[in-house]
């Protein structure tokens, strides 16, 4: 077990290194002059040249890469070329918002999809199941940014039920979380549905029913526990996709989270910040994968560990 974890970790680090390297070269390949961005449109050429020299941008790319890696190993992710913030601090201050958004969204969509999936599994083939299927399909087909804008307009601006944007109180997280939850719940509901259907067909469920175990008990104690399995796997692996939805949601609702930071850094071509965000998200993804791998083996002992 320990050797497995060790090897997994090792591979995780290799993957992280690969992701970091690719991102570094892509981030530096796009044409832009951070010194120019920093200096602003009105500064003259000599000023920009001097600033450029101070930023160390005149060295060849490989030197900059080596320097970056060296600092990274020591935990120094550098300083933003645009805002002057320390990258690690910038991510640290934005993290709580994104975490709040993500956690709330996950709670919401689990609370939505698990009951829906269970219900439709029980009423398989009936009108309710069909109806929910259609609604769920529409839900996962909604572009996140469009749904966010629409909800913001009708539920925020027009009716005043929710705050429009920003993050000055805990209430501000509800609408964005709801947006994310809606587009994901449809998919998870189907997952739970499929998982439950399969489980409900298993022999041991029939046995339990035959033995006279009450229906809710059958549902919750037996079927649900195993029907949830695919959901757990997907949840862990979905971290990467989650970041995509988070980016759009934070953008529309003006939430000061990692998603906004990521967008800003890509559009201002702020290489250290881009690297920081990518590394952070990569660590999350690798970590989540690792966790799911281990958890899966623990939850279902029947599954052989490769």
């Amino acid at each position: 077990m320990a050797t497995r974890i060790f090897y997994r970790l090792l591979w995780g680090i290799v993957v992280l290194w690969g992701a970091t390297t690719i991102t570094f070269f892509v981030a530096h390949a796009v044409p832009s002059d951070p010194a120019r961005v920093y200096a602003g449109a009105n500064a003259d050429a000599e000023t920009v040249a001097r600033i450029r020299k101070e930023m160390g941008l005149n060295d060849p790319l490989s030197t900059q890469y080596a320097r970056y890696l060296g600092r990274l190993i020591r935990g120094d992710m550098g300083v933003s070329l645009v805002t002057g913030e320390r990258v690690s601090e910038a991510i640290g201050t934005r993290l709580p918002t994104t975490l709040a958004l993500a956690v709330t969204a996950v709670v919401l969509w689990m609370a939505l999809s698990v009951p829906i999936g269970a219900f439709t599994a029980l009423h398989r083939g009936r009108p309710l199941d069909r109806g929910v299927l259609v609604v769920a399909t529409i839900a996962i087909s909604l572009p996140v940014f469009w749904l966010a804008r629409t909800l913001q307009y009708y539920l925020g601006y027009k009716s005043g039920i929710f705050p429009v944007a920003g993050m000055t109180s805990w209430k501000h997280i509800l609408l964005p979380a709801l947006t994310l939850a809606i587009v994901t719940a449809g998919y998870y509901a189907r997952l739970v549905h499929t998982g439950m259907v399969e489980t409900l067909n298993q022999d041991y469920i029939r046995v339990a029913r035959a033995k006279g175990v009450s229906e809710p008990r059958v549902l919750f104690k037996h079927a649900l526990r195993n029907g949830i399995l695919p959901v757990v796997t997907v949840l862990g692996l979905d971290v990467a996709t989650l970041l995509g939805g988070v980016v759009f949601t934070e953008n529309v609702f003006a939430l000061p989270g990692i998603g906004t930071l990521a967008l800003q850094s890509v559009f201002t071509l702020d290489a250290p910040m881009i690297m920081g965000v990518v590394i952070f998200s990569a660590v999350m993804v690798v970590g989540a994968n690792l966790l799911v791998d281990l958890l899966y083996g623990w939850i279902d002992p029947r599954i052989p560990h490769p």
Partner: protein
Amino acid sequence: MCSTRTSKEPGSRTFFLWAGLWVACFLGWGCAGDGPAPRLSGDDQTLRLAIPSDINSLDPAEAYDVVSWPLVRTMFHGLVDYDDHLDLIPWQSESWSISEDGRVLTFTLRPGIRFSNGRFVTAEDYVYTLTRILDPATRSPGQWLFRNIEGAGVFQDGKADRVKGLSAPDARTFRIELIQPDLTFLHVLAMPFAYPVPKEEVAKHPQDFFAHPVGTGPFVLEKWQRGTYLRFEPNPSFTGADTKLRSIDVRVGGDETLHMMMFERGEIDIASITATGIPAPDFVRVMKDPVLSRQVESQPLNATYYLSLNTEMPPFDDVRVRRALNHAIDRERIVRLISDRGIVAKGVLPPGMPGFKTDRTGYAYDPPKARALLAEAGFPTGFETELQMVAQNDTESKIAQVVQQDLEKIGIKTGLKPVTGATRIETLGRRRTVPFGTFAWYQDYPDPSNFLDVLFNGERITEVNSNNVAFYDNPQVNALLRQAAHSTDMTARLELYRQAEDLIVDDAPWVFLYHPKMYILRQPWLKGLKLNPVWPFRFERMWIE
């Protein structure tokens, strides 16, 4: 005899009950507590603002954009300021004198002015501040403005450890020696770059003084949560007029439409403090609204929106082609499409600029003449080209597409090349890279040299990061500009600049589009807001009623 469903199984009715519970829960939760409400009393003297993205720096040596400057100016004040007629007046100086040859400026400082850390300001602080700007290690974007100071060059190259032209003969006298006489230098001193900073505070935070600013202004930074908000509170050591505000809260994030929504719900007091002000689509609605229209303030800006024509890249190296483009584009329609929030540009300088020629004819909208000029230049059937623009900007996207259509009518097929703002600045300033692109220039200070000399002087062309993005080089113009730069006679200068502008307009290195006007909305309870072409927002003069 197995039934597939027992009576204890949850049915569809349960499902809908559960769904209904959800909706009720959510709406209730959302409605609960205090939603954003408009101000009810004048006791709350907090000015609430919103900006689209976080400020990069509150260090006056670094801040160089329309959003940071008003905020920096709440914390830092300097030697000179502008009055309502755009004349320079003493601010934290008592008086100044300029030598006969125009090379030496001597300031007498006002006594008793303190930094927010309690210490009194001396002339030595000004020497330190300007030296710091020139120091390459500070990376100040404004260093170019101070290069005319005696000894600046050798200092910047590291060959001297102080700037010879900056001196403090005594605690209240600050002396600057220039290499060449320059009537615009006073304007430069009115910019935040020259506002004093205390040496000991910079020493305390060598890497991040920008987050711990200490100045002589009426406010201090109380809290800055990066990416989220800033709060300013009154400076107890400030010796000038008292401000009625108790704090300024600036929220970060959201675009202008979002800020408009927040304004209408009473969450912020000004919409908005960015260059555009009221978003264009809402502008008409606001002007028609009986209540809102009375809360609008407007101000023509000293800025010009233009299309840059790279005079070194064919076919734009032919002046006839450039003139043709100027005749082909319907500026009136563009201004109409931006809801008349601009003035059609006949030349380079905006109307508020000294030296503006009121009777300039400019280029009339004349597609047949454009076609004739093109034919003369050897393009009877037109040609293909690409216009670079910034896609994320709604106004620019519109303008670009109008330009595209207008040029199509005279046979020029224009593709659009969207880039980010960062890329645009870099590529436009690089020689022989962008033939045709959108851009704008906002004044640094109200003097024609800030437009003509910076943007059209052939001697200032550089291989990269050139401000002369049309790479325009006309020896006659260069000579006029050189002469005007070192003239000590204001009237003569303005005449020289007028002649230079005539030549430039005739040569058409740009398609001159329009001069933007700023419109902002203030809440009815916000008083004391008076726009000004140079400094639109002076927060310390506002209050809530």
